[in-house]
Symmetry: C2
Subunit: 339 residues, 2 copies
């Protein structure tokens, strides 16, 4: 896929709202490569989105899957945090959910992608097992794996990944690390590209890339393509919620990595919810995600940016409010000028 990609630009999967078939199709029709995010979707909704995407473009696209956590978190570790969130939400009249564990219908979504294959299937939060990789290859799909450290990259190569998506610490949204573990170091996009220069698989750089100059930098450091997410959040085709868009447009509030919203490390624009709860937040995904989801849904509907996850990469102030196809063209022009 990457050999033919011109411009070498990939739309990151933007689970949780921003990802839409219209956004992916617009990016693909403009000559770049788009990922549809399957995270948080029920299998039937994913099937619908795939059908809609195929009706909008005949160009190749990808689908991203979340690897489920290996086991539920110990309730004792997150009970006090769930109580804290419950109190805070209660005082605001916002609903909360139960801290349940699930696998985001991983098996069903994988089966769906075997029956109805996409040119590329990418994974976040871990390495698919050998059987899954084999079935996807047999179905004609390339397997891309998101990695955040050299040791995760080695596992992905050994496990048969066709390409690695190197996600630097600059990235918005969830860290794609194989485990949500503070003892694992973070590396910036440029650190990863240098450390993994000898990798026998094509590298896709992700994290903090917002302009053609940034893409040119990633290519100069050895990436075959650049994956951008935050850069597309203000496109009209994206499903980005109105209060999230407003926060992105302001551009002057810093981002931070927090577990406050979902129980897994993710980068977003600092707001009241993050400032209040970051210190007490624990690693328990998807349990905490399910606790805060009703709260965030309601806050989004209310236009209340103080209570929602404002995912954004470090350099989100450079996000441009352009139709996706035009953004791809602008980035390609900037890239040509920088290279």
């Amino acid at each position: 896929m990457l050999d033919r990609l011109q411009p070498p630009i990939v739309l990151a999967p933007l689970a949780g709202g921003p990802s839409t078939p219209a956004l992916v199709a617009a990016v693909c029709e403009a000559g770049a490569f788009g990922f549809l995010a399957s995270g948080y979707l029920r299998p039937a909704a994913l099937a619908e989105q795939l059908a809609e995407l195929r009706s909008l473009t005949r160009r190749p696209f990808g689908v991203n899957l979340f690897i489920p956590a290996p086991r539920p978190a110990d309730p004792a570790t997150y009970a006090p945090y769930v109580e804290e969130i419950g109190r805070w939400a209660g005082a605001r009249g916002l609903p909360v959910g139960e801290p349940w564990f699930d696998d985001d219908a991983y098996t069903e979504k994988l089966d769906l992608l075997i029956r109805d294959p996409a040119p590329v299937v990418s994974f976040t939060f871990g390495m698919p097992d050998a059987e899954a990789v084999g079935r996807l290859h047999d179905a004609g799909s390339e397997v891309w794996v998101t990695v955040t450290t050299p040791s995760e990259a080695a596992i992905a190569v050994a496990g048969g990944a066709d390409a690695l998506v190197l996600q630097g610490t600059e990235a918005g949204g969830h860290r794609g690390s194989f485990s949500d573990d503070d003892s694992r170091p973070g590396y910036s996009t440029l650190s990863l590209l240098q450390l993994l220069a000898g990798t026998p698989r094509p590298l896709v750089a992700a994290g903090g890339l917002m302009s053609g100059a940034g893409i040119a930098a990633a290519l100069a450091a050895g990436a075959r393509a650049a994956q951008l997410g935050t850069a597309f959040l203000l496109c009209p085709e994206a499903g980005t919620a109105a209060p999230h868009r407003a926060a992105l447009r302001r551009g002057d509030v810093p981002t931070k990595v927090t577990r406050a919203f979902t129980g897994r490390a993710a980068r977003g624009i600092v707001n009241e919810f993050m400032a209040e709860h970051d210190a007490a937040a624990v690693s328990a995904y998807p349990e905490i995600h399910h606790v805060t989801q009703p709260l965030r849904r309601q806050a989004r509907a209310d236009g209340d940016a103080a209570a929602i996850n404002l995912w954004a990469g470090e350099a989100y102030a450079l996000a441009r409010e352009l139709p996706a196809a035009e953004l791809v063209r602008v980035l390609a022009t900037e890239l040509a000028d920088a290279a």
Copy 2:
């Protein structure tokens, strides 16, 4: 200076031991640009090193100065931490110092550099005042200022800096931020380069750059030159202590940003001292630096890597054990291949 620099490689100031006149001279003689670190040196020692450097090279070089903290830290904030360090050091038979405040002889060093000017004087930890900038300009020196955020960059431009050294979060050693404040966001080198693309001053990229491919990336993203520090720590001309060299050579232990050693955020390889004390460490620089300095000096002499500050950037595993001039040549060749 930057217009004539070929290859566009700058040796970072490496205060606290690694910086030597021999290292700076070797880098300059190889066609790159080297900074002598004045941090922690008494003015007489700086004068001696300047004389030695001038005896070794006639090529242009720079000197780096630390901007002093505006006021001492409140002793109440650091007293418990000083006690903790004292207990730990006592149990190991290591000496500690007093938590005193000083300005690292800033005024005397600045006066020395007015009498005996260097082609470039760079600053870390803040912006020199208008009088200092004016005196340096009158003496014929360029003024470069280390910045870590867009707002620091705006201050540096407004204050008359001739070039900005953009230091990303990947960098080893102290964060060069104007204040040691957790509420200030970090930005990677590539995030900074993109965010500051329109800056009306030449940009020098610093942080995590270890290979010609990394330098090429920085240039593609708009830097005029790349400043490397960790990459030179294993050069024989560097004053890097033996246990620090051994830790760099291992290459497999992650780095982390900590205030444990000096009371100011700095990135180093995780070791016992950092793991034990990071959680309790406070922001109080240079007070904590003075407390731990005798301890670290003794541990260095003992070859005890567990108790010393093993400053290193994120990608330090790529540091090469080559004479400095050869390293400059290798980097230049890699850069030409990547560009």
